[in-house]
Symmetry: C2
Subunit: 213 residues, 2 copies
């Protein structure tokens, strides 16, 4: 118990700190590319520049590495939603939420894909964490409902609205190969995120019907 707490809250040595970080970084790279079952400890160890037994000196098992990653990711992944401010102006709040989510898809695609992989497989390793997720969404859905009641937003189901935001933004990380294949080489540069941001702004505020003026 004592050692367990110590190793959780405070790394003991400099080497331990560095190596655990290197392993997690390598595991993120490998897991996000091949999924949990498709990744091997040897691959991760090689990516981290160490031997397999050495990796297992820091983490008791392959799954332990994965769990730490998932926990971290889910946490940072929800930060943008946490920032949704009930006191702010509804439409701008939602627009900036979308922008932040899109920036995360751009800057942390590996994290997005690792998480997507987990959900796609039925989330066998994170049924618990999904509860926290629900709690946060319930909370923010209530906020959105007050906005709607105040006539500051169209009457929509806040849950499906959040799903739509998640889906449209994470799509650019999770389905990156498809997006690039469809856009073609010329349009696969960084500009695609700005185009996406522009489109999503229009979609979520005004929809697709022609501008009435």
């Amino acid at each position: 118990m004592d050692t367990a707490r110590a190793s959780q809250t405070k790394r003991r040595t400099r080497i331990q700190q560095e190596k655990e970080e290197a392993i997690l970084e390598a595991a993120l790279e490998v897991f996000s590319k091949h999924g949990f079952r498709g990744s091997t400890i040897d691959q991760i160890a090689e990516e981290a520049g160490m031997s397999k037994p050495n990796l297992l000196y820091y983490f008791p098992a392959k799954e332990a590495v994965h769990r730490v990653l998932i926990d971290r990711i889910l946490d940072t992944w929800l930060d943008p939603l946490r920032e949704l401010d009930a006191a702010g102006d509804p439409l701008p709040e939602i627009q900036s939420y979308i922008r932040r989510k899109l920036e995360m898809a751009r800057d942390y695609p590996r994290e997005s894909r690792l998480f997507a992989n987990e959900i796609l497989q039925g989330a066998p390793r994170i049924s618990e964490e999904l509860n926290n997720l629900k709690k946060l969404v319930d909370e923010k859905a209530a906020v959105i409902n007050t906005w709607i009641k105040a006539g500051k937003l169209a009457k929509v189901d806040p849950y499906h609205m959040i799903f739509a935001i998640w889906a449209t933004t994470q799509h650019y990380a999770d389905f990156d190969v498809q997006v690039r294949a469809v856009l073609g080489k010329e349009r696969s540069g960084d500009g695609r995120f700005e185009d996406a941001a522009r489109f999503l702004d229009q979609l979520f505020v005004h929809g697709l019907k022609p501008d009435a003026g």
Copy 2:
């Protein structure tokens, strides 16, 4: 060559026809649940009610089964987009495209997840098929652009519009566990698809800004 063609175009025996179909159905079930690497031939054979060597009597390798599935899926998956009619009314055309895609997510979630799995892993087994995908999207993007030029649709990037439709609809199949976890048990019934349809209709036509009247 001769035998190869014969087995592709016309099944030789009744048993062959039935067993190959049973294998593909079983493989769809298993692959969509565990991904390619996470699935074993034994699992698929058991699901299909036969022995592993028997399965390998009909398909030369695990990957061959997967390839046939992917080919079929990609084809039926694009049918709704093919139906997008340049001669129709823009908004209703798009609305019914969204509805059809949502119905596919509801009725064929395994197919959606299998495909998502493949793309997520970087589409190692289908770089070729992505070309056909691009061709079709280019074609339909041109149609959408004529609609925009005619003033019948807001000025948006047709590619990102199509991405948004794919993302929001397939989300209900690919991220099903997450959707159910967030909605809670009470709202995880079939009704969620009707709610989603209603929301997406509002979103894609009018956006989220309060109804002006």
